[in-house]
Structure formats: structure tokens, C-alpha cells
């Protein structure tokens, strides 16, 4: 009940923020230079075995406020790319540049939502988020930290569970706490590693709506891994399709980015009306065809 009501509130704000996004796209030149190519990835590759990189020559960029989803089969290196962006892993070659600076090591400027929430089980929900907030703003008073924590817990509709331990929460609630923790440090960029993979379809839909609402209202830049085609179409402005490395006989072709698709669907799309929108099935079929191995180009 509670999650439903918060979801509808969020989608309400999402509609109103659409105009702000489109109007923000025509601002002055200086700002637009900061916004465009906010994150740049150049010539990224990673190998564990010499001369057999999992992926190579990965180039793409993310604008400020853009929501980018990456889709590909298991083992194509999606999580490795995300970990490199997070600073938890290092690439064999190539650069990641965010906001004009090279990414070297983990930073509070990039919040990460981990696949299985990664909450500390010995902390309550409040303590888990306060741990992050205190790391971000070391000189804040306890009152201020608590206010901040409560604001972000309210955002994901879990105010009633503030003093609970993660073990007392359902899977969906845990993942919400993980999202609140990542948002609470107000990072310049949010990285989500298949955050809804372990959730059932109903919970997944609700949290997708919530996430979309929050992202639209905060204009958060997001990079997200997913296996769910509909999730990518719903959330992403840009969808990156990754291909696996291919071994045929003696020749080895490393994996990498196959195509980058711009999502043509209107920004005010919702989960409920997604499949009625013009172009939805074209996009969906294209991605599914790619995943099952039929090569085409999408325009």
C-alpha cells in the first residue's frame, strides 16, 4: 500500500520535471559543454588472459542527466565496465574521464547500487544510510545527518522501517535501502549493477517506477546494467548493446560495444502504457533480435 502511494507521487513529479529537462537542454554554451560528454570512456579494454581481452576498444559517453542502460549476455564484461567506472576495478587499457577528471579509484562522486543490496546486516536502515552520509559530510552534526537520512528513506517510502535491521526487510525493501543509500550521498553519477535482478516481477515494477520518478526529479546521471529489455526501454535514454567475445578456430574476436541506441519513446512514458507507444515494439524486437543473435541496424 505504502509503496504504491509513493510510486504515484513520484510519477507525478516525473511528469512535471519533463519540461525542465527539455528546457534545460537549451541553456548557454558553457553549461552545455559541461553537460555533454559528462562522462567519457575511451578505448577501454580488459584482459585476464594475455591477447584475449574480454572486451576491447569500448568508447561511449554519457551526458549529464542522461540515463544509460547496458545490455548484453553474461560474461561480456558489463560488470567489469561498471566496476571500472566505480573505481573498484582497473582496465587493462583506456581511460574513463568524468567531469574533466580521470577516474582513478573509488570516489564519493559516484554512488553504487550493488546487485544484492550490500547492506551491512549489523546496522539498522538508519545506521546503514547514516554511515554513507557521515562518510560524505564528515563535519555534519548528528541531527543534520538524521534529517538527511530520514529525507532519503522517505523518498523510497520506508520511513516506517528506519530502525529495522536489513534481515527484517523483504528483498525489495532492502534494494530500496540500497538505492536510498546511493542517492543520499548525492553523487554526480549513479551506477546500478543489475539492481532488480533478484526481485520478483511485481516488486521490480514498483521499484522501477520509484527509481524513474527519483531520477527524473533529481536529474541524476545514471549508468545501469540490466538483463531486462523492458526495463531498459522504460528507464533508459540511451541503450548500449554489448557483444561477447567470439572464438572460432584460431581467430579470437574480443567483445565490446555492438550498437548504441537512442530511445525514441517520449520521456513521460510509464510502465503501464509502454507497450501502447509507437515504436516500442520496433525497439524491443530489435534488442531481442540482437540478444538472440540476429544482426540488423536500428534507426
Amino acid at each position: 500500500m505504502l509503496s504504491n502511494s509513493s510510486a504515484s507521487v513520484n510519477s507525478g513529479t516525473a511528469v512535471s520535471s519533463d519540461d525542465t529537462i527539455s528546457s534545460n537542454k537549451v541553456i548557454d554554451l558553457i553549461d552545455s559543454q559541461n553537460r555533454i560528454n559528462f562522462l567519457q570512456i575511451q578505448g577501454l579494454s580488459k584482459h585476464y588472459l594475455k591477447n584475449k581481452p574480454i572486451f576491447s576498444d569500448v568508447n561511449f559517453s554519457i551526458d549529464k542527466g542522461e540515463f544509460v542502460c547496458i545490455i548484453g549476455h553474461s560474461g561480456c564484461g558489463k560488470t567489469t565496465i561498471l566496476n571500472v567506472l566505480a573505481g573498484l576495478d582497473t582496465a587493462s587499457s583506456g581511460y574513463v574521464i568524468m567531469d574533466g577528471r580521470e577516474v582513478k579509484g573509488p570516489s564519493l562522486e559516484r554512488g553504487v547500487v550493488f546487485q544484492n543490496h550490500a547492506l551491512m546486516p549489523w546496522f539498522t536502515v538508519r545506521q546503514n544510510i547514516a554511515f554513507a552520509v557521515k562518510s560524505r559530510w564528515k563535519d555534519w552534526s548528528n541531527d543534520r545527518i538524521n534529517q538527511h537520512v530520514e529525507r532519503f528513506v522517505e523518498m523510497v517510502g520506508l520511513s516506517h522501517s528506519l530502525e529495522k535491521k536489513p534481515s527484517e526487510l523483504s528483498g525489495g525493501m532492502k534494494q530500496r535501502v540500497g538505492i536510498a543509500r546511493a542517492f543520499s550521498i548525492q553523487p554526480k553519477m549513479l551506477l546500478l549493477d543489475e539492481p532488480f535482478g533478484a526481485l520478483d516481477a511485481l516488486t521490480r515494477g514498483t521499484i522501477q517506477d520509484e527509481l524513474m520518478g527519483i531520477v527524473r526529479s533529481t536529474q541524476q546521471t545514471v549508468f545501469m546494467i540490466t538483463h531486462d529489455v523492458d526495463e531498459a526501454i522504460l528507464l533508459a535514454d540511451k541503450i548500449i548493446l554489448m557483444k561477447n567475445a567470439v572464438i572460432s578456430g584460431d581467430s579470437y574476436t574480443p567483445g565490446g560495444i555492438d550498437q548504441v541506441l537512442n530511445n525514441p519513446l517520449p520521456l513521460n512514458r510509464k510502465r503501464a502504457n509502454l507497450h501502447h507507444l509507437n515504436g516500442y515494439y520496433d525497439l524491443r524486437n530489435h534488442i531481442v533480435d540482437f540478444l538472440i543473435g540476429i544482426k540488423k541496424t536500428f534507426d
Partner: protein, 288 residues
């Protein structure tokens, strides 16, 4: 669940009564059998002769193993005045126990002060872990009492040697468990800490320590169990005070009731110590 616990309790009481019954019956036949069979078929002169030979057949003292009733009387006597102190070889049972607990406590605390921080360090560093592993593996299986001569020679004080023996036997389980607990903290929690740029100090105390705490406490619990086993043997060797010395002293007095009393007491105190650590363990255990 509740009825199961109740059934178990009833069964425990039944087993207890049965054991006491067996004990009672076996001491009854042994005591009465020897005195009646020998004394009845003898003339007064023969009895007198036996007494002169040192075989006092009528005496209750030499009936061998004490009966449950005698045991109860002895326990009552010991517990009625546990704090008396009549010089070096005659102290109340509480004082003796106190000495043992003090030694165990001191040795254990010293060991944890070294083992837990050191275990933390080698748990964090795979290099140090591998480097120290052979030493730990060789030192660990040595019986703590084997250190006793070296301790006595170098420390030159029997009381301190006892504490040293407790120290050396409690250090290994704590060290190994701490190192293991720290090294197997979930990768994802460490990743969270590093993406939040948490300082090493906060990471150690707010992430690694709570994550490893259940494993560390298991090590402490094992250490305490071993320390309590070893203190009895150590005190038998070094003498002077303590429950182990009391037990050996009463054996020299041939007071089996006191020996049995001491044995029971060692068991009960050991159980209480273990329960304390079980409570502590419950307190730091988290559910994922």
C-alpha cells in the same frame, strides 16, 4: 518447541536420578558386603589380630568409594564456609577457585590483547598471513604444558608460569579465528566502504570488526574452553593455590569426597564460562 524442551528436562532429571541410584546401590553393596562377611565369622581374638595387622574391618573410613549421602555432606561442608583461609594448604573452595579464575582471566586477557590485533593485521594482509602461517601451524599443536619447563626456567616464578601457560594456549584459536574472520569479510561490504571513501580506521571498526566479530568470538570461546582445561593440569604441576592444586592436594589426603567435589566444580565453572561466551556470541551475531 516448548513441549520438546519440557520433555528434555524431564528426561534429564530422570537420567540424573538414575545415575545417583546406580551410584548409591554400588557403594551400598561394596561397603556393607566387606564388613558383614568378614566380621561375622570371626572370633574376637581374630578380629583383634586383624586390627593389629592394620586391617580395620569395622571402620567406616575404609569402605572405599564415598556414597551419595557422604558426598552431599562433604559438599554441604565445603559450601558452608567457602572463604576460610587457614594457611598455605588449607583454604576455602571459593578462594581456590578465585585463584584459578584469576590466572585464567589474566592469561586470557593478555592473549586476546595480542591475538586479536595481530590476527586483524595478518587477516588484512595475505602476504603476512602466508608468511606467519608456518610458525602458527608449528606452534599451535604444542601442548601448553610442554612450555612449562621453559616458562619456569625463564620466568623463575611458578605463579607467573601458570599464567604464561594459559596465555600460550589461548592465543592460537583467537589468532587463527580473527585472521580467518577478517580475511573472509564479504567483498561487497568492503566495496561499499571503498566507494564511500571510508577512512581505514572507520572501516576497521565499523565494517571489518562487526563483520568478523562472530568468528572472533568463536575463537575466544574455544580459547576459554582450552584455558579452563589447561589451568587444572598447570596448577597440579606448579602447586600452591587454585582448584587444580586443591584437587591434587585432596588426592594426597585420600579424601575422595573432596576430589569428586572439585571435579564437579570444575565442570560447572567450565560450563558457566562457556555460557557467558555463548551469550556474547549471540550478541554480536547478525542475520543476513
Amino acid at each position: 518447541m516448548k513441549s520438546l524442551q519440557l520433555k528434555a528436562n524431564v528426561l534429564s532429571i530422570f537420567i540424573f536420578v538414575l545415575l545417583i541410584g546406580i551410584w548409591y546401590v554400588s557403594t551400598l553393596t561394596a561397603g556393607s558386603g566387606s564388613s558383614s562377611s568378614s566380621a561375622s565369622g570371626m572370633t574376637p581374638e581374630q578380629i583383634e589380630y586383624q586390627k593389629l595387622m592394620g586391617k580395620d574391618i569395622d571402620s567406616q573410613k575404609s569402605t572405599g568409594f564415598p556414597s551419595p549421602a557422604q558426598m552431599m555432606k562433604a559438599i554441604g561442608y565445603q559450601l558452608s564456609n567457602p572463604f576460610y583461609d587457614n594457611g598455605p594448604n588449607d583454604k576455602g573452595i571459593a578462594i581456590q577457585l578465585g585463584f584459578s579464575l584469576l590466572r585464567v582471566g589474566l592469561g586470557f586477557v593478555l592473549a586476546s590483547l595480542i591475538a586479536i590485533p595481530f590476527g586483524f593485521v595478518i587477516g588484512m594482509s595475505p602476504l603476512l598471513f602466508k608468511a606467519f602461517d608456518p610458525f602458527i601451524q608449528i606452534l599451535k599443536p604444542i601442548s601448553p604444558l610442554a612450555w612449562m619447563p621453559l616458562a619456569l626456567y625463564t620466568i623463575k616464578d611458578s605463579a607467573q608460569s601458570g599464567i604464561f601457560v594459559i596465555f600460550i594456549c589461548s592465543i592460537w584459536p583467537m589468532l587463527i579465528n580473527t585472521a580467518f574472520g577478517v580475511s573472509s569479510v564479504k567483498r561487497e561490504w568492503l566495496n561499499v566502504a571503498s566507494t564511500l571513501e571510508v577512512s581505514p580506521f572507520r572501516k576497521a571498526f565499523l565494517v571489518i570488526l562487526p563483520a568478523a566479530a562472530p568468528t572472533i568470538l568463536t575463537g575466544m570461546r574455544i580459547s576459554m574452553g582450552i584455558a579452563w582445561l589447561v589451568i587444572v593440569a598447570a596448577e597440579m604441576l606448579v602447586g600452591g593455590t587454585g582448584i587444580g592444586y586443591f584437587l591434587w592436594n585432596e588426592w594426597n589426603n585420600l579424601s575422595l569426597t573432596s576430589v569428586i567435589f572439585a571435579v564437579l566444580l570444575i565442570g560447572i565453572v567450565g560450563m558457566v564460562l562457556d555460557l557467558c561466551f555463548a551469550k556474547l556470541q549471540e550478541w554480536v551475531t547478525y542475520v543476513e
